[in-house]
């Protein structure tokens, strides 16, 4: 099969290296040598998937087990899909070129709602029946994890089992159960799923019944078998120093989105931004020790040959040991031309010292996210960042030789008015003017300062204080985009904004229930795929698909929920209590802020009270 594809198909597709799978550090195991054959399925293209740390962790932790193998498959780009169809070939894994239907387990990662259609498309191309109920004992088990698994309902027709939370340990536990069942002969999906349901963190949608009120709201979500628990709690690693970390990741030939070695410095973020799902899902903050990180950095660079090391996390400048760590890493590696990059910085914790360290080797672009244009609205969303913070880091940046600054904002946030939009434009101008002043003081040398503002439409997400909020309607969101555009009249300020229609469909699924599965299926039938790619997003088709299944798209996106309502994700327990979220929501409307438990007192969100885990800061509180 591989030879045939290489000779007849790869020369005809845009980027053949996406499908070749011979990269440095790839793991290829003989199929006969293992008890269980699994494939990690990433529902987007290779370049996106290979930039994802989660894939690297799960791929390597599974392949470290002598009994299991894990291969990779990505969504084939449209040209490849066309070739597969012309040649009547199934979608195959990169390592062994085996069709998806030959694997024991297919595991999808759910990073983004708008990749759901690709999941269906990949299963179909891999000749696996799409719906869980259509698959029999000879078909692969289809499992899924990742952030969107915390509201898994829209996918419950298609996925046999969801893994909630951090996957290092639980994935292995799941595979052991499946391997044992496979070996016993007469493999039974039913029996295997029953056993999986008893593992903490595993959600099997078919073991739950959902009832609705006549008005469409949920009446109840109840287990329909005795071995399924009423609430499914997420899994987490207590101690990051002891958690598995891959120091021999695959090195792509092709330039991928994040083409660098990744070092994970911490997990979680307790800044408490009220729109942010990741900030609620991954609590509490757990840091890795600088000693462990330095060892991992050494091995990563040696094993990959990368010339850049990225310190990743939800907010790396919040790492309590960030400055000494970066200094030591640079002292050690700068002579070898290795740069350090910090992908996610906060304006209130980015210091002069950091700025000076990071620019020692190679200058990456600087991006900050004030998220909202006025202090009032920043307090509503609990961003906890002030204009003064922003101007201070902008000053540091310009004085240290950066000429371009990127700012991220959101529009359509609860309580937003035109004044808040004016505030976004004002901030962009203030930063630009500051850059001009500093450049003038330095004798007007070097490139002229530039500011980019990227503006996303607010999408209310499950498990956040804003989960009860509606999305601003589409016309209003477009008006806001245009209004903001009219305020920006400077060719050195670039204004980017997201497709409002995409945010609308995203909102439907982000807060959707299991009835949407039919709509998703219908959309896929009508050709929806790669929805996150603007050239492929078919808005009208999506709306048609949803309406044809008797559902109302606006009801899902624009409805205000009550605290008493049963949410579609009511049975999923992330550790943060619903009462905490509703209290935070009320505080938002009162423009009251909540502190970060790393710097102030505990906010009693529930995670450390109800789960056996605690805040873990290596540099002290």
């Amino acid at each position: 099969m591989r030879k045939y594809i290489e000779e007849n198909i790869l020369p005809k597709v845009e980027k053949p290296l996406r499908y070749l799978g011979d990269e440095w550090n790839v793991v290829k195991k003989p199929w006969a040598d293992v008890r269980l054959r699994t494939v990690f399925a990433f529902p987007d293209i290779y370049e996106v998937g290979m930039s994802h740390l989660g894939l690297s962790i799960i791929y390597n932790v599974v392949n470290e087990e002598p009994d299991f193998l894990m291969e990779r498959v990505f969504a084939p780009w449209v040209d490849m899909e066309e070739q597969l169809k012309i040649h009547n070939l199934p979608l195959f894994s990169l390592e062994s070129y085996k069709p998806l239907y030959e694997f024991d387990v297919i595991g999808f990662t759910l990073q983004y709602e708008m990749s759901f259609s690709n999941i269906l498309n990949m299963l179909a191309l891999g000749k696996v029946p799409l719906k869980s109920e259509e698959r029999d004992d000879n078909h692969p088990l289809v499992i899924a994890g990742g952030p969107c698994a915390y509201n898994p309902e829209p996918l419950s027709d298609f996925i046999d089992a969801f893994i909630l939370g951090e996957g290092e340990e639980v994935t292995i536990e799941v595979f052991r159960v499946i391997a044992k069942n496979k070996e016993q002969g007469n493999f039974s999906r039913e029996k295997t799923l029953r056993e999986l349901a008893q593992i903490k963190g595993i959600y099997i949608p078919k073991f739950y019944d959902v009832e609705y009120f006549p008005d469409g709201k949920i009446k109840s979500i109840t287990p329909n078998v005795p071995y399924a628990s009423a609430k499914i709690s997420k899994r987490f690693m207590k101690n990051l120093d002891e958690a598995y970390f891959p120091t021999k990741p695959i090195v792509p030939y092709l330039e991928v989105v994040h083409d660098r070695a990744m070092l994970e410095v911490l997990r979680g973020c307790t800044r408490g931004c009220r729109f942010c799902q990741a900030g609620m899902l991954y609590r509490p903050v757990r840091e890795r020790s600088p000693e462990v990180l330095k060892e991992q950095a050494e091995e990563l660079l040696k094993n990959t040959g990368h010339n850049e090391l990225s310190l990743t996390s939800l907010s790396t400048s919040d790492y309590t040991c960030v400055e000494p760590l970066i200094k030591e890493l640079l002292d050690k590696y700068e002579n070898e031309g290795v740069g350090i990059s910090l992908p996610s910085l906060r304006v209130d914790s980015f210091s002069m010292g950091l700025a000076q360290q990071v620019q020692r080797v190679r200058k990456s672009s600087l991006t900050f996210a004030p998220e909202a244009g006025t202090q009032r609205l920043r307090d509503v969303i609990n961003k906890g960042v002030t204009e003064e913070n922003l101007m201070k880091v902008a000053r540091h940046a310009f004085e240290n030789g950066w000429s371009q600054i990127k700012l991220y904002f959101m529009i359509g946030l609860p309580t937003e008015t035109n004044e808040d939009l004016d505030g976004i434009a004002d901030l962009a101008y203030k930063v630009l003017n500051l850059g001009d002043e500093i450049r003038k003081d330095n004798g007007a040398r070097g490139p002229q300062p530039k500011v980019t503002i990227s503006v996303a439409g607010f999408v209310p997400k499950a498990h956040t204080p804003f989960q009860w909020e509606p999305q601003v309607n589409l016309e209003k969101l477009k008006e806001k985009q245009q209004y903001l555009g009219s305020k920006i009249r400077n060719r050195r300020i670039t204004y980017n904004y997201h497709e409002a229609k995409l945010s609308f469909v995203e909102a439907i699924f982000a807060k959707g229930d299991r009835r949407l599965g039919k709509a998703l299926y219908r959309a896929w039938e009508k050709g929806c795929k790669f929805d996150g790619w603007s050239q492929h997003f078919k808005y009208e088709t999506w709306l048609e698909a949803i309406r044809e299944t008797g559902l109302d798209p606006e009801w899902y996106a624009y409805r205000t929920l009550n605290y008493e309502d049963i949410l579609p994700w009511e049975h999923i327990d992330i550790g943060v209590k619903k009462q905490f979220l509703s209290k935070e929501h009320q505080k938002a409307l009162e423009i009251a802020t909540t502190g970060d438990c790393r710097f102030k007192h505990c906010t009693v969100c529930g995670i450390c009270q109800d789960f056996d885990v605690a805040l873990d800061l290596k540099g002290g509180k």
Binding site: E6, E7, N8, L10, P11, K12, P16, L17, L20, D22, E23, W24, V251, Y253, L254, E255, D259, L301, K302, N303, T304, G305, H306, N307, E336, G337, V361, R362, K363
Partner: protein, 230 residues
Amino acid sequence: MHLRIKYGKTREGKFLSHLDLMRAWERAFRRGAIPLAFSQGFNPHPKISFGSALAVGVTSSGEYMDVELKKFREIKEIKATLENYLPLGLKIYDIVEIDPATPSLMSKINRAKYQVQGKLIEDFSATQGEEIAHQLLAEENIIVQSYSKKGFKDKNIRPGIFALSIEVDEINKSVLVEFIVQTGSQGNIRPEEVMQALHGLGLPVSIDLMDFHREGLYIDEAGHLFSPLS
């Protein structure tokens, strides 16, 4: 220390673009802890320079690159290390130390030898093959459609063809075309342009299914071909 490396791109590596190739080499040096020298400035780059870029989809057994190292290493050790750390698809043939004043590969290389192999899609004899080769070499001008960023335009490739032979294997119904063409700063003839011309003269092949191989890059001085290593 300055090195000149002769390397090849095998079947597994033929889809690497020039940029992919540069990254792959830098990473292999880094993994092997061979101390590359870096350019000064804003974004330091390793001092690696290549001969002539090879098109995606073409294999090769005669590519060249010059590399500067910060410290001296035994050639044998460098070769053994790189062989350990190169990804699948790249292969080293030879490494020599060169004088830092050696003119760049880019400024010297002006010839490329290609071998293009594939199936005959109609009956075709060895004699017919020889005739087409003679016919092509006898022409003074051969105009082909050349594709560039600006679109298609006419290009006379005949002055850039220096040798050409066609070997037909009548039993296996396949053909091997071998030719030497101009490459580098003085002008560049692409192998598919030559095949396009032969196809026009009646060679029964489908060009996009043929295997293109660059046998080597050379320096022509007064009609003699020299290897960049000599």
